[in-house]
């Protein structure tokens, strides 16, 4: 199973969310006395297994609440599976809601270094890529301005540029096409294709079905926390549209 050319192994993964209804000790106590349920269970993933080989690009498909984003968070390590296991080989970085590590009071330059470090890059690696990151974002003239003065488009451009230039083996992408204007989106897609051509492994979550079926060869359709279909992305999209 953990053969040498696999990058990601997902093996019988279950993930259940307990939705808490109480947020303080008092509320918990009161609810317990009144015998109200403290939590409601929600089965987000119910026995998922798949493997992703080196250089593969897969799309995780499914409707809202089907468990796509949960699966991505399990691969990135933000969440841990209840049972089963997730294994990865090599460096993982996510374009999951880009800009989470940005601080509004820091300049663009400082934010590049901070965010790159959060994504696991060393100082040397960031310095080597610094010029590329700035050039890609096309906001050279504002790079020493505090990020709080940026427009939302500029902010996303910079955040995305940092994430896309990280040294990775596995790139996790959640809703990339919410980034910037049309030309910038095209540029991002081109960059992602370039990374894929270099043998990086991609896992993509998006509601833009045409884009993902074009970008990825393989699609995994999730429904109610289970794998409905695992095969060619075109077929997975067709199945989903029916």
């Amino acid at each position: 199973m953990t053969t040498s050319n696999n990058r990601i192994v997902v093996d019988g993964v279950h993930k259940e969310f307990k939705l808490r209804h109480t947020h303080s000790i008092k509320e918990t106590f009161v609810a317990a006395v009144r015998r109200k349920p403290l939590t409601t269970k929600f089965h987000a993933l119910d026995g998922i297994s798949f493997e992703v080989g080196e250089g593969e690009s897969i799309a995780l498909l499914g409707y809202n609440g089907s468990g796509k984003s949960t699966m991505l968070k399990l691969i990135s390590g933000v969440l841990l599976p209840d049972t089963g296991r997730v294994l990865t080989r090599g460096r993982v970085a996510g374009l999951i809601e880009v800009g989470a590590g940005f601080h509004p009071d820091l300049s663009g330059r400082e934010n590049i270094f901070l965010n790159a470090a959060i994504l696991g890059m060393s100082k040397k690696e960031t310095e080597e890529r610094y010029d590329d990151i700035v050039a890609f974002s096309e906001i050279e003239q504002f790079i020493d301005t505090e990020v709080k003065h940026y427009s939302s488009g500029m902010f996303l451009r910079l955040a995305f540029s940092v994430a896309i230039h990280t040294e990775v083996d596995i790139l996790l992408i959640d809703e990339i096409l919410s980034v910037g204007d049309e030309p910038f989106q095209q540029k991002c897609l081109a960059r992602i294709r370039e990374l894929h051509a270099k043998g990086k492994t991609l896992v993509v979550v998006s509601h833009d079905l045409d884009m993902v079926s074009d970008l990825c060869e393989r699609g995994i359709l999730l429904k109610d926390g289970k794998v409905r279909y695992d095969g060619a992305s075109k077929d997975a999209v067709a199945l989903m549209r029916n």
């Binding site: 303080s24 918990t28 399990l74 841990l80 080989r89 820091l106």
Partner: protein, 284 residues
């Protein structure tokens, strides 16, 4: 980060060791916190000197002059300032460490990093912020003729280490609980409020010894903050040879106990943190 050729389970850290493996990120987070602290203020870092000085003047007037401690303790201002420095370091590190996970919720929910990073960074930021105050204390002490030996300096360093370990351990513990129950924050405020009075900062240990039974005085001295405060008194106030100045009985023994206890809190904090960590991303 990880070995190219072997599989790892994402999101399973080895705890504090991982924080120091990623010390470049840690240093950036600490620098960021310190950098933005006074950004946009005219006086900037001057505030780091102004705050302890104002606090000192208030306590000096209230306790030194009005309550008459100046007459009872020679060099009382320095005695007071040395103790306040320790307690301020502890309070800031502990309070910010407890809140650090909730404050960084956006990050924790989206990207995996060793989460111990945040309480540890809070303690380091508090350590940097306390430096101006230590500088103020030593400058005043030198003015009064302070000439410390290596042992006195070692006592100051040990005091800071005790407080740093204790604050890290408690920050991990209460920070982890605070993710699910925000009550922890309020509880910590009460602890830090009591911490000033549970150690001989405003008064002298003799006053406690006279009023409490022996076993309670032993317990009093086992408080790691009391040990750290007394180490600071030993390092800063004692070398001035104050009249009737006495070291707390068995100071070095209780400094050792304080060190062991803070280390124990660090281990407990880490264990509880690891137990609760799996739920952070969904509870925040």
């Amino acid at each position: 980060m990880s070995d190219q050729s072997s599989f790892v389970a994402p999101g399973r850290s080895v705890g504090l060791a991982d924080v120091f493996r990623r010390r470049y990120l840690l240093s950036l987070i600490v620098r960021k916190e310190i950098g933005i602290r006074y950004r946009g203020s005219v006086l900037g870092w001057m505030w780091s000197y102004v705050k302890p000085l104002v606090q000192f003047v208030v306590f000096y007037l209230a306790i030194g002059v009005f309550l008459g401690m100046n007459g009872r303790v020679e060099y009382f201002p320095l005695y007071l300032l040395a103790g306040i420095t320790v307690v301020t370091f502890f309070s800031e590190a502990f309070t910010n460490g407890t809140r650090s996970l909730v404050d960084n919720a956006a990050l924790i929910k989206k990207i995996y990093l060793p989460r111990e990073m945040f309480p540890v960074a809070s303690v380091l930021v508090a350590a940097v912020n306390i430096l101006p105050q230590i500088l103020v204390v030593t400058v005043i002490a030198v003015f009064f003729g302070w000439a410390p030996s290596a042992l006195h300096i070692a006592a100051l360093v040990l005091g800071l280490i005790i407080v740093a370990m204790l604050a890290t351990g408690l920050g991990l513990l209460f920070g982890a609980v605070n993710v699910t129950f925000r009550d922890a924050q309020s509880f910590v405020e009460i602890i830090t409020m009591c911490a000033v009075w549970a150690s001989p900062v405003m008064y002298q240990w003799e006053m406690v010894q006279q009023k409490v039974p022996d076993w309670l005085f032993v317990l009093y001295r086992m408080n790691p903050i009391t040990a750290a405060v007394e180490l600071f008194h030993f390092g800063i106030w004692f070398p001035l040879e104050p009249v009737d100045g006495q070291l707390i009985p068995d100071m070095w023994l209780f400094a050792g106990i304080g060190t062991v206890l803070s280390l124990a809190f660090l281990v407990i904090g880490q264990l509880v943190f690891r137990r609760l960590e799996g739920r952070f991303a969904q509870d925040l």
